[in-house]
Each structure stands twice: as C-alpha cells, then as structure tokens.
C-alpha cells in the first residue's frame, strides 16, 4: 500500500514539475526588433499599453495568448498581475478610447507564426515550444 502511495506521490510531483517546466515563458519578437534584450519595466509598459517602444527606440506591438500555462506564467513573472487584473487594465484603455486591444491568439504555434510574420511584433511562449523565425529576447 505504501509503495502505491509513494508511486502516486512521485507521479503527481513529476506531473507538477513537468507542467511548471513546460509553462516557463520566454519573450519572442520579430527579427526586425533591434534589441537583443528587454527590461521587465519595458515589458510591463508595453504589455499594459503604457508604451509602444522599447528603451532603445524599437517600436513594438504586443501580442497575447488567450489562455494557458505560458500566458499565466508570463503575467505572473513579468507583468505582476493575474489575468483578471490584466484584462481590466486593457478594458480601461479600450472603453475610454485610449488604445485597441492587442491581438489575442489561440495557440503558441499561432503566436510564433504571427510574430515571425509581423514587423515589430512581440509576444511570449513556453520555452519548449519550437520558435523558428523569431528572435528570443533576454529579460534583464
């Protein structure tokens, strides 16, 4: 019985850690973006509509995932808001005429494809997701 419980606990722990590893978010950008890295403050400003360019002057357009582990991880790690508060921020801007809602995509594959195709696009995906055609920005 103890062995069964131990196996179950190990399996559960493995699942939790695997999920966490898969959800680890990285920042991707179209190759037209000059920067090789980005600060957390710049990311927060760009993804909350407070700025439309990075510190080096690169003009960027944020792209969002609709949901998922990478989305939650990105908000928690880089923006400091949960999904509810994040959407409320954008609703303030959209319904007061100050901004348009960023494009929201269904999957990480769609995110990679969109960012690769559109100049200035900046988004996020799980570290494990294939990301040919985009550049990965280091976060300072």
């Amino acid at each position: 019985m103890k062995k069964i419980i131990l196996v179950f606990l190990l399996a559960a722990a493995s699942l939790i850690f695997t999920t966490h590893a898969q959800a680890q978010a990285i920042i991707i950008a179209n190759p037209s973006v000059k920067s090789a890295d980005v600060s957390k403050n710049d990311l927060r400003d760009v993804f909350t509509g407070a700025a439309s360019s990075l510190k080096d002057g690169s003009k960027v357009t944020p792209v969002l995932l609709k949901q998922g582990g990478a989305h939650e991880e990105f908000l928690s790690e880089f923006i400091g808001k949960n999904d509810t508060a994040f959407r409320a921020t954008w609703q303030s801007l959209v319904f007061s005429g100050q901004a348009s809602m960023p494009k929201s995509l269904d999957s990480e594959a769609a995110m990679v494809e969109y960012v690769a195709r559109n100049a200035g696009a900046i988004g996020y995906i799980s570290k494990a997701t294939p990301h040919e055609g985009v550049k990965v920005l280091a976060v300072r």
Binding site: A88, Q91, V94, F95, G97, Q98
Partner: protein, 394 residues
C-alpha cells in the same frame, strides 16, 4: 449639430485611409459590456430610484467599435444605453474620436473625447475595469457622470522619460462640454418646475500630470480644469394652485448662467502585487444665476476627497474599503451641507467574461444622490445602501 459634426469629421478623417485595406489589416474590433444593478436602502430613496423598497432600475449596455488602419492611427466610437431610476433611459454617444500617436512622447485625439481629469474620470463609466460598484460619489457622482466624462474638442497627450526620476505622463485638453437637461445637477430645479430643454454648455480647458515615480507602482498626479462662463435656456413652469385660474399652467422663459470655475485636483495611487491604495482631493467653487425667473443665485464651494484600499484575496476575489466625503462651505449648516460615505466592497470574477459585485455604503449627510420627489417626507440624515451587481463583458 456642430458637436455631431466634430465627431463625424474625426471619424471621416480617420477613415479616409481605410478604403484600400482589407478588414484584417484594419484590425477592426468590437467590444462591449452590460451590467445590471440592484439597490436597497434602509432610509432615504437614493439616485432617483425607489431603493427603500429594493430597486433593480440600474442597467447599462455599451458597444465599442474601433479600427486601427495604421500603427499610428486609430478611430473608434462608443455608444451606451444607461438607465438609473429617472436618469437616462436612452442611447447616448460616449465618445467618437480619431487618435494619432506620433510616438510615446506625443499623441493627439480629437472628436468627442474622454476628459482626462482626476484619477478616474476617463474610466468612471467603465464598470468592468474596477472593483467598486459606485466610485466615491464625492468626486464621481454617477447622476452627473455624462456631463463630466467627455467633451467635444481634443486632447494632446504623451509620456516624458525622466530617466532617474521615473516617467511623467501629460495630458492637455480643450473644447466644449455639455451638461444635459436631465443631469443630476438639475434634479432639484426640475422637480421644482425649472427645466433646461437643451442643457447647458460652454468652453473648457485643462491639463493633467501623472508622475510614475521610481518606487514601482507609485503614481502621484494633479489636474487643473478651467470652465469659462456657461449659459443655457431654461423654462419655469408654474401650475396655479387656487383662485379663478386654478390649474392654468404659466411658463416663463429665462436663462441659466454658470460662472467661471477652476477645479484643482490632486491624487495618488500605489499598486503592487495584491494591494492598491489611492486618494484624491478636489475643490470646486462657483455660482449659478437664473435670469428671468424666481430662484435666487446659488453659490457653491465644495471640497471633496476620498481614500481607498483594496486587496486581492484570490485570483478571482478582491475586497476593498473607501471613505468619501464632500463638504459645501456655501450651504447652510445641517446634513444637506455634507456627505460622508464609508464603503465596503467586493468583486468576484467567474471567468474572463462574467463578474459579480457586492457593496455596502454607510452614508451620513444628504448632499449627494437624493431628490425631493422620491423622498416626500423629507430626508433622514443617514442611510445604509446595499448594492448587488452582475456584469458581462467581451
């Protein structure tokens, strides 16, 4: 009519470049939200509802249409149906504007645009964007929301990077503002027989600064608005109560003049992780003068402030408290001179699209939110108000 023209021109100019582009390129978006509120008060009826019996007469629905034909140009329009007791019950234009942003340092917006004064003015009507059911009524009275929200004209805005000292956001605005004939400011006059058939309007200018300090999450700001002298036609209707002319209606035309006024406003907000604190102070002074009809001139000199805090209990549940107070130094002593409101509030988000709110107000004083017709036996000095609200957004 001129005001509609301003909005139409803004949209037309913005859309001249749309024709040759595909719908996908234009990034056309449709958003909206709707809310249904329920009010219950222990004593006085509030906000022109029969709230002491429990009132569901609070409904709003908003539709927003926007397009972004180029990275720097956006156009949009937003319409609203609003019903709160005897207020509203019609569709109105929230804003209709074209926005050209050269870069983060400079942008211009024109048409019918939101007026960016104070901490919440631009978003005071956007229920999904905050936790409270009612924002502090001392500075953001919902019965006068439409008149304060927007103006016909423009806004210049931008952000200056202060390097070691943070960032400074600036906004400057000018144009014409209109207060409709059904605005909450006029309720006591309308109920005494003086109506404003076409509202009142006049020129405004103002500016605001928001300093995002180096302490992450701390913003300090100030705004200053100047309203020039306004005027609008009024009609005084009098029903002869006795004598040979009993029942005859006598109407007398006149004019309402609103003096020049300056409105300084100071505010701050600290927001980090699960907590948020904010406070605001505003001063409003001037006078109303009636030409051609009986009421004597009215002076007002109102000091208003609030302080609020909230805490995210879970990812979906948030709770908070505020105290809000206004005090009119030009009014005679008594409960009608002030209003103090302690409020407990909570919001639960069921998912991305549906949320519910609950709020309890402990109101002392009668200067905000009451009318005579729905309180025919006079106003009690204090009232408890319970609000339940449900909202959907997309």
């Amino acid at each position: 009519m001129n005001r509609w023209l301003v909005g139409a021109i803004a949209i037309a100019l913005g859309t001249t470049s749309l024709a040759a582009q595909s719908l996908d390129d234009l990034n056309i978006q449709i958003h909206g939200y709707a809310t249904q509120g329920f009010l219950y008060t222990t004593q006085n009826n509030i906000l022109t509802t029969s709230s002491s019996d429990g009132s569901p007469e609070w409904f709003e629905a908003v539709v927003n249409l926007g397009a972004q034909p180029t990275p720097k140009l956006r156009v949009g329009v937003q319409a609203r149906y609003f019903l709160l007791g005897n207020f509203g019950n019609y569709v109105s234009l929230d804003w209709a504007a074209a926005d050209y942003k050269f870069d983060d340092r400079l942008g211009v917006r024109f048409g019918k645009v939101k007026t960016p004064s104070g901490l919440f003015n631009e978003i005071q009507d956007i229920d999904p964007s905050y936790m409270w059911s009612l924002l502090p009524q001392s500075i953001y009275p919902i019965s006068s929301r439409n008149g304060n929200l927007a103006h016909y004209g423009g806004v210049v805005y931008g952000t200056v990077n202060l390097q070691q000292a943070g960032k400074l956001e600036y906004r400057a605005w000018g144009g014409e503002r209109e207060i409709g004939g059904d605005d909450g400011y006029w309720v006591s006059f309308v109920e005494s027989g003086i109506t404003l058939p076409s509202g009142i309007s006049g020129p405004i200018v103002g500016g605001a600064l928001h300093w995002n300090t180096l302490l992450r999450g701390l913003m300090l700001g100030a705004s200053y608005a100047h309203d020039n002298a306004w005027s609008g036609p009024i009609v005084d209707t009098y029903l002869v109560p006795a004598g040979p002319s009993t029942g005859v209606t006598i109407t007398t035309p006149g004019n309402l003049l609103l003096s020049k006024s300056n409105t300084p406003d100071f505010f701050g907000r600290y927001e980090k992780d699960k907590v948020m604190f904010a406070a605001e102070y505003q001063r409003l002074a001037g006078n109303l003068f009636f030409q051609g009809v009986a009421p004597a001139p009215e002076d007002y000199s109102i000091r208003s402030w609030y302080a609020m805090g909230s805490y995210k209990l879970t990812g979906k549940l948030i709770g908070g408290v505020y105290v809000s107070q206004d005090f009119d130094r030009a009014t005679a002593l008594g409960p009608s001179r002030y209003s103090k409101d302690w409020t407990l509030s909570g919001r639960y988000d069921f998912g991305q699209y549906i949320y519910a709110k609950a709020e309890e107000h402990f109101i002392d004083g009668t200067s905000v939110g009451y009318d005579a017709d729905l309180n025919p036996h006079g106003l009690k000095p204090d009232t408890k108000l319970t609000i339940l609200k449900i909202g959907v957004s997309f």
